[in-house]
C-alpha cells in the first residue's frame, strides 16, 4: 500500500518570553497508508494537534520530514490541498451565517462546485438545518458542520481532530458509520480522539503519542496483542486456598475482590486442572484481554496513580527517552 501521510522525526519547540522553551513534538514518526482508518491517540498536551497543524502547514516545524499524498508538506501542500479535507480542533464559523452559506463560502474559496454543499450537509445529517444560523447550532451541530466542511472537497484524505467533540451517542455512532462508509469508498482517514472505545471500534491502525514521541504504532489488534499479559479472571469458592494451589503449580495468581487473577497462562485448562484436582471447581474462567484504553493508559502513564490529580506534563516517555529534554505542553496556552 502507498503512504498517504509520512512523518519522520518531526520536532517542534515553542519559545516565548513568559513560558521559555517548551518541546511539543520531539522526533515523532507517523505512517498512514492508503485506505486505512488510522487512530491518532495521546493524552492532553501530548502533541497531537501540534503534529496535525504542522502537517497542514499551520505550524512551522523545527525539523523532520513530512509528506501528504506524496508531496512534501508544507512546501508543496497547495498541490494536494484540494484532495485533503481537514478539521483541526473545533473550527469557528460566522455565527450570523447559515450552515449552507458557510459551506458555500468555503466551496467558493476553494474552487469546489456549489452542488457539493447539499451533499456534504446530507452526509453529516444537517440537511434540514442547513438554513439555520450557525449561532443557533449546538456544539454537536457545529462539529457536524466542521466535518461537512472537510467533506466538501470530496477528499482522498480526511484528517479529523476530535470529530466526536460535543456529539451525542447517536451522533457518535453516525460519525463512526460515516467514517466507515468513507473508508469503504477509498478515503483514507486519520482521526484523533479521546474516545478510545470509538477508536477501537472504527480504526484498523493506531499510533499513540506521549510527550511528543511515538510510543506505539501498528494494527490495532497487533498493538493490543503486544500488551496481552495472558491474564484470566477466575471465580472459585475458596480464593485464598486457590491462590496457594496455583502458586504450588508455579503459576502467578492474586486475589482481586471476590475473584482471582491468574497471569502468564497460555493454556487456561491448566487452571481448571490444578484447582479441580484439589476439589475446587471453577465457576468462571474469563480471559482478560487488553483493550485500547488499558494499553493507552499503560503506555502514556496516565492511569498510574488514579487517586492523584494528573498534570498534563505527567505523561510517560518512551523507554530510553531523556526526561529532562522533554517538557510537554498544551499548545493552546502558549505564545508562539
Amino acid at each position: 500500500m502507498s503512504a498517504v501521510i509520512e512523518i519522520e522525526g518531526l520536532r517542534k519547540t515553542f519559545r516565548s518570553v513568559r513560558h521559555g522553551k517548551r518541546v511539543a513534538v520531539d522526533g515523532f514518526d507517523l505512517l498512514v497508508e492508503a485506505g486505512q482508518i488510522h487512530g491518532f491517540l495521546g493524552p492532553n498536551g501530548s502533541g497531537k494537534t501540534t503534529t496535525l497543524r504542522a502537517l497542514l502547514g499551520l505550524v512551522r516545524a523545527d525539523g523532520g520530514r513530512m509528506t501528504v499524498l506524496g508531496e512534501p508538506s508544507p512546501e508543496l501542500l497547495p498541490r494536494v490541498a484540494g484532495r485533503v479535507g481537514a478539521i483541526v480542533e473545533s473550527p469557528q464559523f460566522f455565527g450570523n451565517f447559515t450552515g449552507r452559506r458557510t459551506l458555500r463560502l468555503l466551496a467558493r474559496a476553494g474552487g469546489v462546485s456549489i452542488s457539493r454543499v447539499d451533499e456534504a450537509l446530507e452526509l453529516v445529517g444537517l440537511r434540514d438545518r442547513g438554513d439555520d444560523r450557525v449561532k443557533g447550532y449546538s456544539l454537536g451541530m457545529k462539529q457536524r458542520l466542521a466535518v461537512a466542511s472537510a467533506l466538501l472537497k470530496d477528499p482522498r484524505l480526511l484528517i479529523l481532530d476530535e470529530p466526536a467533540n460535543g456529539l451525542d451517542p447517536a451522533g457518535i455512532r453516525e460519525m463512526r458509520d460515516l467514517m466507515r462508509s468513507l473508508a469503504a469508498a477509498g478515503v483514507t482517514v486519520l482521526v484523533s480522539s479521546h474516545i478510545l472505545g470509538e477508536i477501537q471500534l472504527i480504526c484498523d491502525h493506531v499510533t499513540i503519542i506521549s510527550r511528543g514521541r511515538r510510543v506505539a504504532a501498528g494494527r490495532v489488534d497487533e498493538v493490543l496483542a503486544g500488551h496481552d499479559r495472558h491474564e484470566f479472571l477466575v471465580r472459585v469458592a475458596e480464593p485464598e486456598r486457590a491462590v496457594d494451589l496455583l502458586h504450588e503449580a508455579e503459576l502467578t495468581a492474586a486475589v482481586e475482590g471476590t475473584a482471582l487473577v491468574v497471569s502468564g497462562v497460555t493454556d487456561p485448562t491448566v487452571i481448571s486442572r490444578v484447582l479441580g484436582e484439589q476439589g475446587l471447581w471453577v465457576g468462571e474462567l474469563t480471559p482478560l484481554r487488553p483493550d485500547l484504553e488499558s494499553v493507552f493508559l499503560e503506555l502514556t502513564g496516565a492511569g498510574e496513580h488514579p487517586s492523584v490529580p494528573r498534570q498534563v506534563d505527567d505523561s510517560a516517555l518512551p523507554a530510553g527517552a531523556d526526561d529532562a529534554a522533554v517538557i510537554d505542553l498544551d499548545v493552546r496556552g502558549v505564545d508562539a
Binding site: 515553542f14 497543524r53 497542514l56 502547514g57 499551520l58 505550524v59 512551522r60 508544507p74 501542500l77 497547495p78 490541498a81 481537514a86 478539521i87 483541526v88 480542533e89 473550527p91 469557528q92 464559523f93 460566522f94 450570523n96 451565517f97 463560502l105 468555503l106 467558493r108 474559496a109 476553494g110 474552487g111 466542511s149 472537497k153 499548545v331 493552546r332 502558549v334 508562539a336
Partner: protein, 338 residues
C-alpha cells in the same frame, strides 16, 4: 477570483461593517437634514446687504495694509516694532490672503455649498478614515482570533495569497464605499445649496481644489485602512490596533508633545503624525515655533513660522503604513497559527 468573491461576501456579512455603514448613513442623514432645516434662500435685500458688507471688509483690509506699509516705511524706528502692526506687512496684504471676504460670509442662516463644501468634506474624510481603520483592524483581527484564517488556510494553504487577497479586497471595498459615499454626500449638499441656500456656480478653481482634497482624502482613507489591518495582523487581534492608536495618541501626540515643549525642542510639530496628515490633506500647513526666532538678530524679521508640505508628509505616511504592512506580511508568513 473565487477567493476575492468569498472575501467580499465575508466582508459584507460582518456585523461591524454593516453597523459602520449604518452609522455613516445616519451621520450623513442628520447633517443633511439639519443643514436643510437651518437654511433658506436669501432675499435680494439680504444679498445686497451681504455684498456691501463683503466689499467694506475688503476695503478695510486694504486700508490696514496701506497703513502698515506707511508706518513701516516712515515712522517705525529700526529695531522697534509697533504693538499693532507686524514687522511683515504682507500679512495684511489682501492679495496674499488665502481667501477674501465674500457675500456668503455675511448671510447667516443661508447654506453656501461653495463655502461649506470643504468642512463638510473634511468631516466625511475623518469619518471614512475612522471607518477604514476600524474595519481594517476588525476584519483581520476577528478572523485571526476566531480561527477563520486557519479555516481558510486549510483550503488555500498559501499564506501570502490569502492575506494579500484579504487586504486587496478590503482596500477595494473601502475605496468603492468611500468614493460612492463622498460623491452622494457632495451631490446632496450641492442640491441643498441650489434649492434651499445660496445658489450659483462655483468656478473651476473651486472644483479643482475640492477634487484635490477629495483625492487626498481617499488616499488617507486607504492608508488608515491598511494601517489598521497591518497592526491587527501583527497583534493577532482587533484590540491591538485600537490599543496602538490610543497609545500613540496619548503617549506621543499628547505626552511627547508636552515634553518637547518643556525642553524647548525645535519644530516639535513635524514629529507628529497629525501634522503630516494635515499637511497631506491641505497641501501645506504652517506652524509657529518661538525657538526659530531666538537665534535671529534684532534687525532680521522673524515670523517664527515653518511649513510642512504634502510631498514629504506623504512620504512619512507611506513609509509608516508601508513598513507596518510589509512587517505584517513577513510575520504572518512565518507565524504559528494556533
Amino acid at each position: 477570483m473565487n477567493l476575492v468573491r468569498a472575501e467580499l461576501e465575508r466582508l459584507s456579512a460582518r456585523r461591524f461593517v454593516q453597523l459602520m455603514v449604518v452609522l455613516l448613513a445616519l451621520a450623513f442623514a442628520v447633517t443633511a437634514a439639519t443643514t436643510l432645516a437651518g437654511s433658506h434662500r436669501p432675499s435680494e435685500a439680504e444679498l445686497s446687504s451681504a455684498r456691501t458688507q463683503a466689499a467694506e471688509a475688503l476695503q478695510g483690509m486694504e486700508a490696514t495694509h496701506q497703513q502698515c506699509l506707511a508706518r513701516q516705511n516712515s515712522m517705525t524706528p529700526p529695531g522697534e516694532t509697533d504693538d499693532f502692526y507686524a514687522t511683515d506687512c504682507s500679512e495684511f496684504d489682501p492679495i496674499r490672503q488665502d481667501r477674501l471676504p465674500i457675500a456668503a460670509d455675511y448671510l447667516p442662516g443661508v447654506f453656501s455649498f461653495e463655502q461649506q463644501a470643504r468642512p463638510l468634506l473634511y468631516f466625511l474624510i475623518a469619518f471614512l478614515v475612522l471607518f477604514g481603520f476600524l474595519v481594517g483592524a476588525s476584519y483581520i483581527g476577528a478572523d485571526l482570533n476566531s480561527g477563520g484564517v486557519v479555516n481558510l488556510l486549510l483550503w488555500r494553504p498559501r499564506r501570502l495569497t490569502v492575506l494579500g487577497t484579504k487586504l486587496g479586497t478590503l482596500l477595494g471595498t473601502v475605496l468603492a464605499l468611500a468614493v460612492g459615499a463622498s460623491l452622494v454626500y457632495l451631490a446632496t449638499f450641492w442640491v441643498i445649496g441650489q434649492t434651499a441656500g445660496l445658489g450659483g456656480r462655483p468656478g473651476d478653481d473651486f472644483w479643482r481644489s475640492l477634487g484635490a482634497i477629495h483625492g487626498r482624502g481617499l488616499v488617507l482613507v486607504l492608508l488608515a485602512t491598511a494601517l489598521g489591518f497591518a497592526i491587527a495582523t501583527l497583534g493577532r487581534h482587533t484590540s491591538a490596533a485600537l490599543g496602538a492608536a490610543a497609545a500613540y495618541t496619548v503617549v506621543w501626540e499628547l505626552g511627547a508633545r508636552l515634553v518637547l515643549e518643556i525642553v524647548d525642542a525645535r519644530r516639535p510639530d513635524r514629529l507628529m503624525l497629525s501634522s503630516h496628515i494635515a499637511a497631506w490633506l491641505n497641501g501645506k500647513v504652517r506652524f509657529w515655533d518661538n525657538q526659530l526666532c531666538t537665534s535671529s538678530s534684532g534687525t532680521d524679521p522673524c515670523s517664527g513660522f515653518y511649513s510642512l508640505t504634502w510631498g514629504p508628509s506623504l512620504v512619512v505616511l507611506l513609509v509608516i503604513t508601508g513598513g507596518l504592512t510589509v512587517a505584517a506580511f513577513a510575520v504572518f508568513r512565518r507565524r504559528d497559527l494556533l
